[in-house]
Every structure is written in structure tokens, then in C-alpha cells.
Amino acid sequence: MHLTYALLVLASPTAGHGSLTAARFARALLARGHRLQRVFFLDNGTLTGLATAVTPQDEQSPLQQWAQLAEEHQTELVLCISSALKRGLLDATEATRHERAAATVHPAFELGGLGLLVEAAQTADRLVTFG
């Protein structure tokens, strides 16, 4: 039986490795033939999409893991806009809107409202949270 999944990532990419675990879970569910509808990053989870984060070369970067997944599987990665703004994650539109110098969100991610999480909950058979 193939299921539709949505993931909610609340874990910070730098405190523990919950964000990496979630990315591996995403790959594993796709490998089992399921569909991944959307990954919604909320709270400290939104830091995952910070384009300017630099991870030591000998460690896995959560940013790169998610960006690769998005590239290979066209996975929709959404950062909660209000969580993101508070943490300095802005795309070009929000940088203009809030008069900040530069966009800081990695292009594999998009900013969106919590409505996208609510919508995912309506369509997904499984909603798995990583805190």
C-alpha cells in the first residue's frame, strides 16, 4: 500500500541531528514507494533553510541533504514565514518588504504560511513530526 506523507520539522539543524534524521526518513519513505507531498519547517526547524550556514567539511550539512532531496525528487520544502522572519531567513520579496540587505533563504526552500501545513494535514495519510 502506497501512502502520502507530509513531514513537519521542528528540530533545529544545529541542536542535535533531528533535521538530518528527518531527511533520511524522507529518503527512506520514497525508497519504499510512498509519496512525499511536502516538508514543512516550523519554529527552529526553519533554520534548516539558511543559505549562509557553513557546515564543517567533514560533517553532513542538513541544508545540503534537504537541497539534494528537493533536486532529486522535486520535494516541496516550505519554511513557515513567521518563524523564518524572526530568525533572519528572508527571500528576495521579504528582504524588500522588510528593508533588509539580502535574501538568506536557500533556493531549494520557499517561504509559506501555516495554511500549507494545514493543507498538507488534509491530504496526507501520514504526518510525521521531527522535534
Binding site: 528540530a11 519504499r32 504526518l127 521531527f130 522535534g131
Partner: protein
Amino acid sequence: MLLHTLSRSPAHAALRDCLAVLAPGDALLLLGDGVYAALAGSEAAALLAASGADLFVLDADAALAGVRDCLMPQATLVDDDGFVALSERYSRQLAWY
């Protein structure tokens, strides 16, 4: 019937809160620092064993923590594929952290 995931060490309230609702028929997957709750002979392990829930530990995190060889006998190691299999079997998941 729920799949619980616990990713905080047993010193945090997450374990107590999880134990308050964990029931026979549920599954509990320990990951992150949550793997320490399955240390054989620990207080937490005794409480988990008494809960009647099926107990699982994420292999990569048990290895990372260095506890892979000293887990309570009731706990089963699972890899990422096994984690997904658990989420197939239990339609609801509740994350404790």
C-alpha cells in the same frame, strides 16, 4: 494505537509525559538522545518495559551514542527503512522531545 517517538534524554520531562500516555498496543521509537532511555538496567528502561508498549531504537542513533550493545533486551533496533515501516503500521505519530 500510536507510534510515539522520543528524542530527549530520560532526564527530561519528555519521558515522563510520554509514559503518562503510553499504552499497550502502542509503539515507542527512541531516537536522538532518547536512546539512553533504553539502557539496560536503567530506571527509564524499567518504566518502559512496564508500559507494555513495543519498544524500538533507531540503530544509527544508538551507535552514535555508543549504547548499541547495552540496550534492554525488549528493545528492537531498526534502521531508517524500519522507521518508515513503523509509520506505515501506525497511522498516528506523536513526537516527544
